[in-house]
């Protein structure tokens, strides 16, 4: 049967260990590469007041050594065996990966299991990583144009519930207040096998891989799961507009957002298609009408969950966010009006058949493109299992997007992209003395 992925089918085998850890195997023996990907169901939105930045601090702690792999060994073993690795923190999850030559699969699994079983949590490691996080903050936020506005101020303006709006990178005060006991408790609670999904994809043989996974992870004890945090947002009743002076920016930018639909709802699929019509490729409406037509937008980005997520990991409550770097001959208010005129044209005038077909082809092609690397396949499978309980979405998700009709896009656009519920953050270049103290 021809599928939307042009005959492509990513093989999936699911397996659950006795301790509750979910495992997914996906075999492709074309290139001698294997990806080990582990995602934990804990992110910045799980943090408590006074403990901001813990999810991110933890991502750092995970590289500080564990019982049998001392400090530095994680990097050293992966790199000296021809691989690379990283981790990243998100609002709803934290993930880690090793990409290795496929003969080194056991090494990747051993390293992940050793730190899940017995991470080295002590004062020295904590102090050292607190400093690293602070330095990362100086480098990636305090010294970069737009970064503080987008990553810290934007969530505060777009959300009202503290769980959703607080800083992902954390405050220096909270980081300084963190004790070894706090960190140990966070680890025990969230870095448990029953809160993790492990994916092994690439050049593997499944019986052998399964045996290794059982041997390394099988006896790590599960932990009671805490009640999930209440992320509910109060309903929006009026638009918000704020101006943010940025002493490092030289060109103005505006972020525009609307409260988005529930993940995997029909409206979620429709907004994914709307986003493609507005910003997918150079034939998109923003490119043709704002960059070219009005000559007002210089660069644009948009996504369900912008700036932290896209459709693969957007979780409600979330924002459909649009970011426009714009020509200083225009004002932020004018840019909001221009973007909203493009949005209004969708629900008012509809979507042509040829345009919709182009968006579908674009989507199909981008997904096939993405599936080429073992690591990208592993990361999609892991997040679909964690967030949807359904890794097969890697093969079927597209069907839902491609089935969306022009009428459904119109209706969802009108329902969700409501100017009455809009948040806008206008980031303007500022002289150093006008800058906010951060």
């Amino acid at each position: 049967m021809p599928s939307t992925l042009d005959g492509l089918n990513i093989p999936i085998q699911r397996h659950t260990l006795a301790n509750g850890m979910r495992v997914i195997f996906s075999q492709d023996n074309a290139v001698p590469v294997v990806a080990v990907y582990i995602v934990y169901g804990v992110g910045a939105r799980d943090e408590e007041r006074g403990r901001t930045g813990f999810a991110h601090l933890f991502e750092h702690m995970m590289f500080q050594g564990s019982r049998n792999a001392p400090k530095g060994a994680h990097f050293k073993l992966v790199e000296s065996n021809g691989g690379f690795l990283n981790g990243s923190t998100h609002p709803d999850y934290t993930d880690y990966f090793e990409v290795l030559p496929s003969n080194k699969l056991a090494l990747g699994l051993w390293l992940e299991a050793d730190r899940m079983r017995a991470l080295a949590i002590n004062t020295e490691n904590l102090d050292n990583q607190r400093d690293a996080v602070k330095q990362e903050r100086r480098l990636s936020f305090d010294n970069q144009a737009y970064a503080t506005a987008v990553v810290e101020r934007w969530p505060q303006l777009a959300f009202d519930n503290w769980q959703n709006s607080h800083s992902l990178i954390g405050s220096f005060e909270d980081l300084d207040a963190a004790t070894v006991d706090d960190v140990a408790r966070f680890f025990r609670t969230h870095y448990a096998p029953n809160n993790a999904v492990l994916v092994v994809s690439g050049d593997i043989r499944i019986p052998e891989a399964k045996e290794l996974v059982e041997a390394y992870f099988g006896d790590i004890p599960p932990q009671p799961r805490p009640a999930p945090p209440d992320l509910t947002e109060p309903p929006r009743t009026e638009p918000r507009f704020e101006t943010y002076p940025d002493r490092l920016a030289k060109v103005p930018a505006v972020a525009i957002g609307y409260p988005g639909p529930p993940r995997r709802s029909a409206d979620f699929n429709a907004l994914v298609m709307l986003d493609l019509l507005l910003t997918g490729g150079e034939s998109s409406r923003f490119h043709q009408n704002l960059v070219k037509g009005n000559k007002s937008v210089i660069q644009y980005a948009a996504n369900l969950g912008w700036p932290f997520s896209g459709p693969a990991d957007y979780k409600d409550p979330g924002i459909y966010g649009i970011y426009l770097l714009y020509n200083p001959a225009f004002t932020g208010e004018q840019m909001v009006a221009q973007a909203e005129e493009e949005i209004a044209k969708v629900w008012r005038d509809g979507v042509g058949a040829a345009e919709l077909e182009r968006a579908r082809t674009h989507l199909r092609s981008s997904r096939i493109q993405e599936l080429q690397s073992s690591r990208a396949r592993a990361s999609l499978l892991g997040r679909f299992e964690l967030l949807d309980g359904n890794p097969d979405l890697i093969n079927t998700e597209l069907d839902g997007f491609l089935a969306v009709t022009a009428e459904q896009i119109q209706a969802a656009t009108k329902r969700y992209c409501d100017p009455g519920k809009r948040t806008a953050l206008n980031i303007l270049p500022a002289a150093p003395q006008e800058a906010q103290e951060g």
Binding site: E79, L100, N103, A113, L248, K295, T361
Partner: protein, 446 residues
């Protein structure tokens, strides 16, 4: 099973490049076809010897602007038509320019290969640089440049490249506000006519292709009638002698200091290339490198610290790159310079060498997993004038490097005695610390 020790594993199977069919059209266009049927996509790279080093001195950025504007209109299609047709085949077409090369890249669902080749040929041969598109590009590139100039690391790279290469054209790879203002259709069309010639180009086609004859017929139909022309010679490969210079680019308000220390390196075909590549990786190539372990992990001076040995067609660069807190600048510089001296005066350990050779070999193969990764490597190797066997022999060459070769290469290219030092930061906070290593020239950020 012993869980207390890292597992022992079998040896890695060797990497074999998929078969490459290489041929030349009568007009001189080199064509390489590589079959890869894992994914229903095709990836193309059309590369030209037409990078920024061919820019006239009065118009830096001309190669880059030509690349950007190629797909903004041809004699046959408007920019909008190109965009819609490209989107309609599930594809993308975009060109970019580096110091040596201008590369037009494209991809599409494999069923649309003929259309992709048709679009790429139209863009490469018939770009018309419409007046309104040129004006819009100038307007937006001006804003983008202003934005780039607000970035400390952009300013550091710019000053560093200038110190190393001036007056060779490698010293200016970005446009200036003046050169953007002076750009016009005539200059763009001139660059197209001089440099975008078939004898000056390599076409790599990779993916789920039809049988070779059929694929070649598609290429011939679109590129066969392209007129052969003489392409311009590159600028003479003459570079200044390295010398110690310390430049502080003043950027008031910076909360940290952005540092570059380094000098000229070597191109890929140079006998010192592989020793420098491996030595660079030991010094600052990854998260177990000497710089990372010392500057970040042990001393906590920086979040990011690395070194890079970047080959160019006729030369190369070696640079140590980091950003440190203002108050530790002097200590951090001392530590960086000490590491740079050490690797040129004492052989690396056998363990370091083995681990690093493994690392470079492994990630090299991992990068070839995707069509884009493989096409980029094949195109780069051919355009740099290297044999395709370079790709298959890469891991062997890396593993053949000796400890003494690394020390000797580091003494020649890493030792800081004659290195350029660039620091971008708030002069009022860091100038005094920088003077601890020598005489400093202070310039204002532009």
């Amino acid at each position: 099973m012993d869980l207390t020790r890292p597992p022992q594993t079998p040896a890695l199977p060797v990497y074999k490049l998929p078969p490459v069919l290489e041929t030349k059209l009568d007009n001189g266009l080199a064509v390489l076809l590589i079959q890869d049927h894992r994914f229903p996509m095709v990836t193309a790279r059309l590369g030209f010897q037409a990078g920024s080093k061919y820019d006239p001195p009065s118009l830096p950025g001309l190669s880059e602007s030509t690349a950007t504007l190629l797909s903004e209109g041809t004699w046959n299609r408007t920019a909008r038509q190109i965009a819609e047709e490209v989107n309609g085949i599930g594809g993308s077409i975009s060109a970019s320019s580096s110091a040596d090369l201008l590369v037009l890249g494209g991809n599409a669902l494999s069923e649309y290969l003929p259309k992709l080749i048709n679009l790429m040929a139209d863009v490469a041969r018939n770009a018309s640089f419409p007046e309104d598109e040129v004006e819009l590009h100038k307007q937006n590139r001006t804003q983008e440049l202003l934005s780039q100039r607000s970035d400390a690391s952009f300013l550091a790279d710019e000053k560093f490249t200038e110190l190393l290469f001036a007056p060779h054209p490698y010293s200016r790879q970005d446009p200036t506000l003046e050169s953007i203002a002076a750009l016009d259709r005539l200059a763009l069309a001139g660059f197209r006519d001089r440099s975008l010639a078939p004898s000056n180009a390599v076409l790599v086609l990779l993916g789920a292709l039809p049988p070779p004859q059929e694929a070649l017929d598609i290429v011939r139909a679109e590129f066969g009638s392209w007129q052969a022309r003489e392409a311009p010679a590159p600028p003479p490969a003459e570079f200044p002698e390295p010398q110690r210079a310390i430049v502080l680019v003043n950027r008031p308000g910076s909360v940290q200091a952005d540092i570059r220390i380094g000098r000229l390196g070597v191109p890929r075909h140079h006998p010192d290339y592989f020793p420098l590549l491996v030595g660079n990786s030991i010094l600052g190539g990854g998260t177990s490198s000497r710089l990372f372990m010392n500057i970040r992990e042990r001393q906590g001076f920086a979040y990011d610290v690395h070194s890079a040995a970047q080959p160019l067609q006729d030369s190369g660069t070696f640079a140590v790159v980091t950003q440190v807190r203002n108050e530790v600048l002097a200590e951090a510089l001392e530590a960086l310079l000490a590491e740079m001296r050490q690797i040129g005066s004492h052989p690396v350990s056998a363990d370091e060498l083995e681990a690093t050779a493994n690392y470079l070999s492994g990630v090299f193969v991992i990068r070839l997993e995707t069509q884009d990764g493989l096409a980029a490597q094949v195109a780069a190797v051919r355009l740099m004038g290297l044999p395709l066997a370079y790709l298959e022999n890469y891991t062997t060459r890396v593993r053949a490097v000796t400890r003494e070769e690394i020390r000797a290469a580091a003494a020649r290219y890493v030792d800081p005695e004659r290195a350029a030092v660039v620091v971008v930061g708030d002069a009022s906070k860091i100038a005094a610390q920088l003077e601890s290593i020598g005489k400093v020239t202070v310039e204002e950020a532009k």
